[in-house]
């Protein structure tokens, strides 16, 4: 038995698939791909799947890792091509590698966010104010976790933040804490900024582009 790391993109209508549903969806995909799967032992044998860093509902992911376990001889390239043939619309396999790093090493992730405003004026006003707020180092918001709701300074969990207006769009590139130790959903940052500025976008889209370990090194 060995683990392989499957990298995939989740875009389009697939962003509406919840984490739980992703699990079911990919469990079936690995069966359709006829991979020599290793099954969990117990009353209800299932293929082993581990989504290292589940995406929140409604967010796109461009470089998402999933570990699966297989038995027998099959190269990473064979796993990739078998999987590619059976994926539903919106979930695309980009690579299959050996798992090098451990889940626990993930510390942050890069997000690319687009906010569409009603006018160019609002987009640029929002960008300007948002930039100042983040630079001030203080953006306080209520954050829910398993242990209850806490008031936290979101800026402490943001390691990079760039915003610029482009027409009616405000485009954000940001790196926020991600992983088991500390995690900040960028949607929370956006919601806090909207509240602070009082400028409501018509729509928002969030895309996770990369995962990092310490010192900004790419997770692999």
């Amino acid at each position: 038995m060995r683990s392989v790391r499957v990298w995939f993109k989740k875009t389009g209508t697939a962003i509406y698939i919840s984490h739980l549903d992703m699990n079911r969806c990919l469990s079936r995909a690995v069966v359709r791909a006829k991979l020599p799967l290793w099954y969990t032992e117990g009353f209800n044998p299932k293929p082993y799947l581990n989504f290292l860093c589940p995406l929140p509902l409604g967010q796109e992911g461009l470089n998402e890792p999933l570990d699966i376990r297989i038995e027998g001889e099959m190269t990473n390239e064979e796993v990739r091509s078998s999987l590619c043939a059976v994926m539903p619309q919106g979930i695309e396999i980009t690579a299959v590698t050996d798992p090098i790093m451990k889940t626990a090493q993930i510390t942050s992730a890069q997000y690319s966010i687009n906010l569409l405003f009603g006018s160019e004026g609002t987009a640029s006003a929002f960008s300007h104010t948002a930039d100042e707020i983040i630079k001030s180092g203080e953006l306080v918001a209520e954050k829910r976790s398993k242990r209850g709701t806490k008031t936290v300074n979101l800026c402490e969990m943001i390691t990079a933040f760039e915003i610029e207006a482009e027409g009616s769009l405000a485009k954000i590139q940001t790196v926020t804490a991600t992983g088991s130790a500390s995690n900040l959903n960028p949607d929370l940052v956006v919601t806090a900024l909207i509240e602070k500025t009082g400028l409501e976008p018509v729509s928002r889209s969030i895309s996770r582009t990369r995962l990092f370990i310490e010192k900004g090194e790419a997770f692999c």
Binding site: T13, Y16, D21, V31, R32, Y39, P45, P88, S203
Partner: protein
């Protein structure tokens, strides 16, 4: 796909995966290259509808045609409906995102009477006039099918036509005919009159109903060349019949999310309350080789880890052992669970049972339906207490600790003793567990008893019987609970109000169309969901329309009475039903078809063929 305007609301509603489309194996076509747009509508939520085999069959069947594109449509939940109405987004097909009002067909499948208000709600969301007479153009045609088509009278004003019986052949015939009429620019009336000539097609507007002073039906008069009797369709050979080779795989969890393949249609048992048994006769079996091939194809294209072999009574399938012996060879190594719903456990080989449980152990269910042998004889449920107990004993030995028992109340001739019998039988199963030396160590037993209320249905020997009132139901339910003394027994019972409404519509006539529309206008929908049923509103609507609902449920009908569904012919004869009704009241059972043909008459509409008759001749 979904309309662009919904992009911003999808994250505000529960389970957006219901509304996005884009699932694996869903069929996308170039709309400029198809002539016929077909909306297959299921009048309940996505999770229920996506579990429905009939929809999967007809979806694949229509999409096999190059000239037609079939899309799926489900009833949006209230939160989504609110958003759609606020944004003026009409009901759309999940494949294209296009409004169904522009489709050629808006087709509903009707498995249950309590979905009727949902049908009206979906038509309204689509922006289509509710009544057939208000829709003047040839398209969209609002059509229906499914079990409720056998008495569609309460919905007669809304449907342009319905099809009776198996849909595999008639659906294509209807589409072919429509295509001709669309091309030559026929009127809706011209098309409907021609469609009525296709066997199995019922056009309600081509029949005048006359009533007696006492409110019963006096006569049903066909006009403009419509047939006096509409004969249901039966597919003669199930081996060559169309069957899907793949299923759409939902992203979200649905009720039954698995490979399902039919093994046969019809039922040999003849339980007198059961509508499905008589609606789907005569018995037609599929060869085990074909069943296995179809299972394999769907498994490989979906990745489902469960296969359900479906029929009305799976252990009566003559090919079952052969099928399982061959199939388990690949399902066990591939960790696929094989489920046999509707299994009568009485004569099922122990060896096979063990093999079936080797991947994942599924539940164990018995349906004695009545608490005493006397009453089981009345309803012709030929299963004895000893059979239930000995099978349960075997199962306990095999490690099972949970058993489900299904019963009914409100059966003809029922007394308190029969109600007490339900509790006694459940207790006997509990005792069987504790008296079993081989029971699983250190674990308790759980017997869940589920009790439904008898809703007498058309095309059953009980179609003339009165149904108990909601008050009587509650009384009997309370009585049953007082007889249960063990914590190992859990009892669940059907909502008496839901059953009552089901009873009204099951044997209703055309005058109820007005009540259903009124109820919908007063906000009734999702009536089968306990938390959204507005029973008081329903009762007010009956009153507002001057209709007594008890006229349809509480009355014992005479054999001579003209029934609202008398112009439907499902093969089984009225004489047979009368004979069976009389035998019920005498407490005499009728042997199952395999032992002795009871002469129900269903073979006549299948060219004289019935698997069981053929067997008894050989």
């Amino acid at each position: 796909m979904f309309p662009r305007q919904l992009e911003n609301v999808l994250l505000k509603v529960q389970k957006p995966g219901r509304y996005t489309g884009g699932e694996l194996n869903s069929v996308l076509k170039d709309k400029s290259k198809v002539d016929i747009r077909f909306a297959f509508c299921f009048p309940d939520t996505y999770e229920i509808g996506m579990s429905h085999l009939g929809m999967k069959i007809l979806y694949s069947l229509i999409n096999e045609r190059e000239d037609a594109w079939c899309e799926r449509v489900f009833a949006p939940a209230s939160d989504m409906e609110e958003q759609m109405r606020a944004l003026n987004v009409p009901l759309y097909g999940l494949e294209s995102g296009d409004a169904v009002k522009d489709f050629d067909f808006i087709a509903f499948t009707m498995m249950y009477e309590l979905c009727y208000t949902n049908i009206l709600n979906m038509l309204s969301l689509a922006g289509v006039p509710l009544r057939s007479s208000e829709r003047k153009n040839l398209s969209p045609l609002v059509i229906g099918g499914g079990a409720c088509a056998c008495n569609i009278e309460p919905m007669a004003d809304f449907f342009d036509f319905v099809t009776l019986g198996d849909g595999e052949e008639v659906t294509n015939e209807v589409i072919d005919l429509y295509k001709i009429h669309k091309a030559k620019g026929s009127t809706k009336q011209e098309f409907l009159e021609e469609a009525a000539k296709i066997p199995g097609v019922y056009v309600p507007s081509l029949y005048d109903i006359q009533y007696n002073f006492d409110g019963t039906v006096k006569a049903i008069v066909p006009k403009n060349g419509a047939p006096e009797k509409v004969v249901k369709r039966t597919v003669r050979n199930l081996d060559t019949m169309f069957a899907p080779s793949t299923f759409v795989v939902p992203f979200i969890e649905v009720v039954h999310d698995r490979t399902t393949v039919e093994t046969f249609r019809g039922c040999i048992r003849g339980c007198r309350f059961c509508q499905a048994c008589f609606l789907y006769r005569p018995i037609r079996e599929k060869s085990p080789e074909i069943v296995e091939k179809q299972c394999r194809a769907i498994y490989e294209s979906t990745g489902y880890d469960e296969i359900s072999l479906c029929s009305l009574s799976t252990s009566d399938y003559t090919g079952l052992e052969k099928l399982l012996n061959s199939m388990l060879d690949w399902t066990i190594p591939e960790k696929i669970n094989v489920a046999l719903p509707s299994l009568r456990a009485d004569n099922f080989p122990e060896e096979l049972m063990k093999k079936l449980a080797s991947v994942r152990r599924s539940g164990l269910t018995f349906a004695p339906e009545a608490g005493t042998q006397r009453l089981r004889d009345v309803i012709n449920k030929n299963i004895t207490e000893q059979e239930v107990l000995s099978t349960a004993s075997l199962a306990f030995k095999g490690g099972w600790t949970a058993v489900k028992l299904y019963f009914m109340m409100g059966l003809p001739t029922e007394t308190d003793e029969d109600i007490e019998g339900i509790a006694k039988l459940a207790q006997a199963v509990v005792d069987e567990y504790y008296n079993n030396p081989d029971k699983p160590k250190g674990r308790g037993v759980n017997v869940s008893v589920s009790v439904a209320t008898l809703v007498p249905k058309p095309f059953t020997p009980f179609q003339w019987e009165p149904m108990i009132t909601p008050d009587e139901t509650k009384e009997k339910q309370a009585k049953l609970l007082s007889f249960v003394h063990s914590k190992k027994i859990s009892v669940s019972m059907h909502n008496s109000q839901t059953s009552f409404l089901e009873g009204v519509f099951a044997r209703g006539d055309r005058r109820l169309s007005q009540v259903i529309e009124t109820a919908w206008r007063h906000g009734c929908k999702f009536d089968s969901w306990d938390d959204s049923l507005k029973f008081d509103t329903w009762m007010q609507c009956f009153e507002e329309c001057g209709i007594d609902p008890y006229f349809y449920t509480a009355r014992k009908r005479e054999f001579e009475e003209v029934l609202p569904w008398d112009h439907m012919d499902y093969g089984v004869t009225k004489q047979f039903f009368i004979r069976e009704n009389k035998r019920a009241h005498e407490g005499v059972t009728t042997p199952c078809c395999r032992e002795k043909c009871a002469g129900c008459g269903a073979a006549a509409i299948n060219g004289g063929e019935c698997s069981e008759i053929r067997k008894s001749v050989v």
